[in-house]
C-alpha cells in the first residue's frame, strides 16, 4: 500500500486552473428561475416566437418533474439552483480574429497553457466564455466546404429552417428534468453542420469556461453530420475554483445521417464544487458511426451518460468513458446504447479510478428492441481503487427483446497491487513514479484515443491529473 504522502505527491487532487479573471457582465439576470427570467433571456437574444414558446413549455415540464432520486446526491441542489444566475452576457461582442480577442480572455487561454503557435494550429476555435460564444473563427477552407460552425445563437439566427428541423428532436424537453431546465434557459454552445460527403481532417474545438461565481451554464449544442460526412468535435472544460456550489447542465444533440462518421470528445475538468448534469445523445442512422469519448476528471458530482440510438441498419455506436473521482467527488457516468435496427453494433468501454473518498459509479443501459436482428453489443467496465476509503459501483441495465442479439457485459474491480508497485520500484522507480505509471497504464486504452497533435492542452490536463508533475 503506498503511503498517503506518495499519493498526495501525485497531485491527483490539486485543481490546476484555480485562477479567476475579472470580467464584468453587461447583463445579469437575478438569481433563481421563473417565467420572467426565461422571457428576459429570449428577449435579450432577440429570438423568434416559437423558441420562446418552447422555452416556456420546457420550464413548465422542468417544474413538474421531481428531482431524480437515483444516481448522485442532489439534496443540496435545490438550494444551489435558487442561488444560480441563469443568464449573463459578457462584455465582448463576437470576435472573428485572434487580434480582436480581449486581453483578459487571452489571459485565460494563456493560463490554460496553450502556446501562441498552437492556438493558430487549433483550427476554428469557438471558445465559450461565460454563457456565450465570444471568440469564434473558422478556417477558410471549411467555410468553402459549406461547414457551419457557429454559436448556437447564430445557428438559430442564420439557419432558421435547418435549426428548427432538428432542435429538440434528439433530446426533447420532456426527456428528463435537467434536459427540461436546459431547454428553458439554454444559452451558448455550438451549432455545427457538416454537408454531405465533407471530410474534416482537423477537429472542431470549443473551450468552455464558467467564470462567474454561481453562474449556471446551460450550454446547448446541436450537430448535424450529413450523409457520408466525417468529423470530430472536441469540447474541453476547465473552470476556476469558487467557494459556493456551481451548476452546469448541458444538452448535446447530434444527428449522424447515413454513412456519416462523427466523434465527440469531452474532457470535463470542472472545479470540485460543480454539479455537472449533462444529457448527450446521438441519433445514428443507417451505416453511420458515432463515437463518444467522454472524460470526467473534475466536478463535485457528474451525472452523464452519453447515448447512441442506433436507428438505421448497420449503425455503430461506441462509448469510451473515463472517470477520475478524487476526494469528495462522485462521478456517476457511463453510457447508453439502444439498438432499434438490424445488424447494429455497439461497444462501451469504461475505466474509472477512485481515490481518497472519491466514488466512481458506472451506470449504463444496453437495450435491444425486438426486430434489431443480429445486433451485437459489448460492455466492459474496469474500476481501480486507490485507497481504503475509495468507493466504486457498477449499475448496468441489460434489456434484450431480440433473440438473435449477442450481448455481453463484464466488469472488474481491483486495487493497485503491492506486487505491481514492488516490481516497478525494484526496477528503480520511486513510489510516486510507479503509481503514476500504473494509473497511466490503466487508462491508456482510452487516453491513446485522444488526438494528441490537436488537443495539446486536453492531454496536458490528463497528464497533470494523473502525474501531478506540476502543482
Amino acid at each position: 500500500m503506498p503511503t498517503n504522502e506518495v499519493i498526495h505527491g501525485l497531485g491527483l487532487d490539486d485543481y490546476k486552473f484555480g485562477f479567476v479573471t475579472d470580467s464584468e457582465p453587461v447583463f445579469r439576470a437575478r438569481p433563481g428561475l421563473d417565467a420572467d427570467i426565461v422571457r428576459q433571456i429570449a428577449a435579450r437574444k432577440d429570438e423568434p416566437e416559437w423558441m420562446l414558446k418552447r422555452r416556456l413549455r420546457a420550464l413548465a415540464i422542468y417544474e413538474s418533474k421531481p428531482m431524480p432520486k437515483w444516481g448522485g446526491d442532489l439534496s443540496e441542489l435545490e438550494e444551489t439552483l435558487a442561488q444560480t444566475y441563469f443568464y449573463s452576457k459578457p462584455h465582448e461582442q463576437m470576435e472573428r480574429s485572434w487580434e480582436d480577442v480581449p486581453e483578459n480572455i487571452k489571459l485565460t487561454f494563456e493560463r490554460l497553457g496553450i502556446p501562441e503557435a498552437e492556438r493558430k494550429i487549433l483550427a476554428g476555435v469557438g471558445a465559450q466564455y461565460d454563457s456565450e460564444m465570444v471568440y469564434h473563427s473558422l478556417k477558410e477552407e471549411w467555410e468553402a466546404k459549406g461547414v457551419i460552425f457557429d454559436s448556437i445563437e447564430d445557428g438559430l439566427r442564420n439557419h432558421p429552417e435547418l435549426f428548427r428541423r432538428h432542435f429538440g428532436t434528439v433530446i426533447p424537453a420532456a426527456d428528463n428534468k435537467f434536459a427540461a431546465l436546459n431547454s428553458a434557459v439554454w444559452s451558448g454552445g455550438s451549432f455545427v453542420y457538416i454537408p454531405p460527403g465533407v471530410h474534416l481532417e482537423t477537429p472542431l474545438q470549443a473551450y468552455f469556461r464558467v467564470n462567474q461565481e454561481r453562474l449556471g451554464q446551460f450550454e446547448r449544442t446541436l450537430i448535424i453530420a450529413d450523409e457520408g460526412s466525417r468529423a470530430h468535435y472536441i469540447e474541453g472544460c476547465t473552470a476556476p475554483v469558487y467557494s459556493t456550489d456551481s451548476f452546469h447542465s448541458g444538452v448535446i444533440e447530434i444527428v449522424v445521417n447515413p454513412r456519416a462518421y462523427f466523434r465527440y470528445t469531452t474532457i470535463q475538468n470542472w472545479s470540485n464544487n460543480m454539479y455537472n448534469l449533462v444529457t448527450q445523445r446521438a441519433l445514428v442512422h443507417e451505416g453511420a458511426h458515432m463515437e463518444w469519448l467522454d472524460g470526467n476528471l473534475g466536478s463535485k458530482l457528474t451525472m452523464k451518460y452519453p447515448s447512441c440510438y442506433l436507428m438505421g441498419e448497420g449503425a455503430h455506436g461506441e462509448i469510451l468513458s473515463i472517470a477520475y473521482a478524487g476526494d469528495g467527488q462522485h462521478q456517476d457516468t457511463g453510457g447508453k446504447v439502444i439498438h432499434v435496427a438490424p445488424r447494429t453494433t455497439s461497444s462501451i468501454v469504461s475505466k474509472s479510478i477512485s481515490k481518497g473518498t472519491g466514488r466512481a459509479s458506472y451506470r449504463g443501459l444496453c437495450k435491444v428492441y425486438d426486430g434489431a436482428e443480429r445486433a451485437r453489443s459489448n460492455v466492459e467496465c474496469d474500476a481501480l481503487l486507490i485507497n481504503e476509503t475509495s468507493r466504486t459501483d457498477t449499475f448496468p441495465y441489460i434489456e434484450i427483446d431480440e433473440r438473435s442479439a449477442t450481448v455481453g457485459h463484464e466488469a472488474t474491480v481491483s486495487k493497485v497491487g503491492d506486487e505491481q508497485l514492488f516490481y516497478l520500484m525494484s526496477r528503480g522507480l520511486d513510489e510516486a513514479e510507479a503509481m503514476a505509471l500504473i494509473v497511466r497504464g490503466f487508462i491508456e486504452p482510452i487516453a491513446k484515443e485522444l488526438p494528441l497533435e490537436y488537443a495539446v492542452e486536453l492531454n496536458r490536463l490528463i497528464e497533470l491529473e494523473m502525474e501531478g508533475s506540476v502543482g
Binding site: A383, T389, D393, T394, I398, E410
Partner: protein, 444 residues
C-alpha cells in the same frame, strides 16, 4: 390498499392468528405479538410498484391478480390420499436423511432417519416447534433473517404463515444425506404462506432440498415462502429450491442466508414451472472466511415470468462468494436477473463474483440482466459478467454435420448450457429431475 390481500376483509390480526393457529388452540403470546407487529408493517408498507427499482420488471399487480385470491389462507389440514404426481415424486426421490410432506401450507408428515435423530438433529413442523416455544425458534423466527421489515411480502408472510419446517443440527453433527421437503399446492386462487428455518450449529453439516409442486390451475394461486438459514462457525449448509408448479402457479420466495466465520452456505434456485416466480435471495457473509456459492437455473416457455433478485453482502473481510445464474428462455418467456455485490466498509480481501448468462430460444422471449457492484473497500477482487445470446450456430452446425437433426442438436446445446450449473452440484437426484423436466420442455 391496491390489489393487496385483505385478510378477513380487514377484520384485523386477531383473525389472522386464529386462521394460522387453527387446530392448535392458538399461538403462544410471543408469536401472536410477532404476527401483530408484522401485520402492522404489512399495512404500513406500500404495495410494490414497477416504479421501485427492485420491482421494475415485475408488475405484481398485473401478473398476480391478488384481488382474486381467497381472502384468507387455508386453515384446515389436508386429509385423504396424496395426489398421484406427488406420490410418484416421493417414490423416485430415494434415500434421504429425512422427509417432510407439506400439503397446502400444512405439514402432514415429518420423518427423520432414526440414526440422525439420535445424534440430536431436530426436524419438525415449524408451527409445532413454535407452539411449544422452542427457544431457537423463538429467538430466530422472523427476527434476523427474513423479517417483516424486509418488504410487503415478507411482512405478509411473517403475519400469516401457517406452517413450515424447522431443522436444527447440533454442534459437530454431520448429516450426510439430504433432508427433503416436498410441498404440494392444490387449490386455485388460494394463498399459502410457509417458512423454513434451518440452524446449523458450529462445525455441523446439512443439505436441504425444497421442492414445490402443483397441478395446472385455471386461475392464479400464490405460494409465498420465507427461507431463513443460519450457519454458525465452521458449519456447512446446502439449500436447493426446485420449483415445478403447474400453470398459473405463482411463487414468491424470500430467502436469506447468514454465514458466520469459516462457514459455508451454498444455494441453488431452480425455476421450471409456474407462471410467475420471484426469488429474493440475500446472502450475508458476516464472519471472516465465510463463503457462499449461489447457483441458479431457469427454463422459461410460453408466458412464464422469472425474476431473480439476489444480493451478496460482504460484511466481514476475507469472505468469498460466487454466483452463477443461467437461464434459457423460449416462447414468450421473460427472465430477469438483478444481482448486487455489496462490499461493505472494512470488508477487505473480499473475493466476490457474479455471472448471469441467458439463452434466447425464441423471437418473443425477453431477457433482462442487471448485475450490480457497490464497493466500499479497496483491497478486493470483484467481477461480474452478463451475457444474452442465442444458440451457438457453430455448435449446432457441428452436431448436425454429425448426423443429428436440428431439434436434437438444439436440445443438446441447451442441455450443455444449463448443465454447467448442475455439474457444480455433483451427482444428485435433483440434477436428474431437472434434466428430465427440461428434456420434456424441449421436446414439446
Amino acid at each position: 390498499m391496491s390489489g393487496g390481500i385483505a385478510v378477513g376483509g380487514g377484520a384485523g390480526v386477531a383473525e389472522v392468528g386464529e386462521v394460522a393457529a387453527v387446530g392448535r388452540g392458538g399461538d403462544p403470546a410471543w408469536l401472536r405479538a410477532r404476527r401483530d407487529e408484522a401485520w402492522e408493517l404489512y399495512e404500513a408498507t406500500p404495495f410494490p410498484s414497477t416504479r421501485s427499482e427492485e420491482w421494475r420488471y415485475t408488475d405484481v399487480e398485473r401478473l398476480l391478480p391478488l384481488g382474486d385470491l381467497e381472502k384468507r389462507p387455508i386453515g384446515s389440514k389436508w386429509s385423504g390420499e396424496l395426489p398421484e404426481r406427488l406420490r410418484r415424486v416421493l417414490a423416485s426421490d430415494g434415500e434421504g436423511a429425512g422427509r417432510v410432506v407439506e400439503m397446502d401450507g400444512r405439514v402432514v408428515s415429518a420423518r427423520l432417519d432414526p440414526g440422525v435423530a439420535t445424534a440430536g438433529v431436530v426436524l419438525s413442523s415449524l408451527a409445532d416447534a413454535a407452539c411449544s416455544s422452542d427457544p431457537v425458534v423463538r429467538e430466530l423466527l422472523a427476527t434476523q433473517a427474513v423479517t417483516a421489515s424486509d418488504g410487503k411480502f415478507p411482512a405478509l408472510n411473517a403475519a400469516l404463515w401457517s406452517d413450515g419446517v424447522f431443522v436444527h443440527v447440533p454442534r459437530g453433527v454431520k448429516v450426510e444425506l439430504p433432508i427433503r421437503l416436498s410441498r404440494w399446492v392444490s387449490r386455485p386462487h388460494t394463498p399459502t404462506f410457509t417458512r423454513v428455518l434451518i440452524v446449523a450449529e458450529e462445525r455441523s453439516r446439512i443439505a436441504f432440498e425444497d421442492e414445490i409442486l402443483s397441478p395446472d390451475f385455471e386461475s392464479a394461486t400464490l405460494a409465498s415462502t420465507a427461507i431463513e438459514i443460519f450457519a454458525r462457525r465452521g458449519a456447512r449448509v446446502r439449500y436447493v429450491s426446485l420449483q415445478r408448479m403447474g400453470r398459473r402457479g405463482c411463487h414468491l420466495a424470500s430467502q436469506r442466508t447468514i454465514a458466520e466465520r469459516d462457514s459455508s452456505v451454498d444455494t441453488l434456485n431452480i425455476a421450471l414451472g409456474g407462471s410467475v416466480d420471484r426469488v429474493d435471495l440475500n446472502a450475508r457473509l458476516v464472519g471472516q472466511g465465510a463463503s457462499s456459492e449461489m447457483l441458479g437455473l431457469y427454463f422459461g416457455e410460453d408466458g412464464q415470468h422469472f425474476d431473480f433478485n439476489t444480493s451478496q453482502d460482504h460484511v466481514a473481510p476475507h469472505a468469498h462468494s460466487d454466483l452463477l445464474y443461467k437461464g434459457a428462455l423460449d416462447g414468450r418467456a421473460r427472465g430477469i436477473f438483478r444481482g448486487i455485490i455489496r462490499v461493505h466498509e472494512g470488508a477487505q480481501r473480499t473475493d466476490a463474483y457474479q455471472t448471469n448468462r441467458n439463452l434466447l430460444l425464441s423471437d418473443h422471449a425477453v431477457a433482462t440482466s442487471l448485475p450490480n457492484l457497490e464497493i466500499e473497500a479497496d483491497d478486493v477482487r470483484c467481477s461480474h459478467g452478463a451475457t444474452v445470446g442465442q444458440l451457438d450456430s457453430e455448435a449446432l452446425f457441428y452436431l448436425m454435420s454429425r448426423g443429428l437433426e436440428r431439434g436434437q442438436a438444439e436440445r443438446l446445446v441447451v442441455r450443455g448450457f444449463l448443465g454447467e450449473v448442475l455439474s457444480r452440484l455433483g451427482r444428485s437426484v435433483v440434477a436428474d429431475k431437472v434434466m428430465r423436466t427440461i428434456e420434456a420442455k424441449l421436446v414439446r
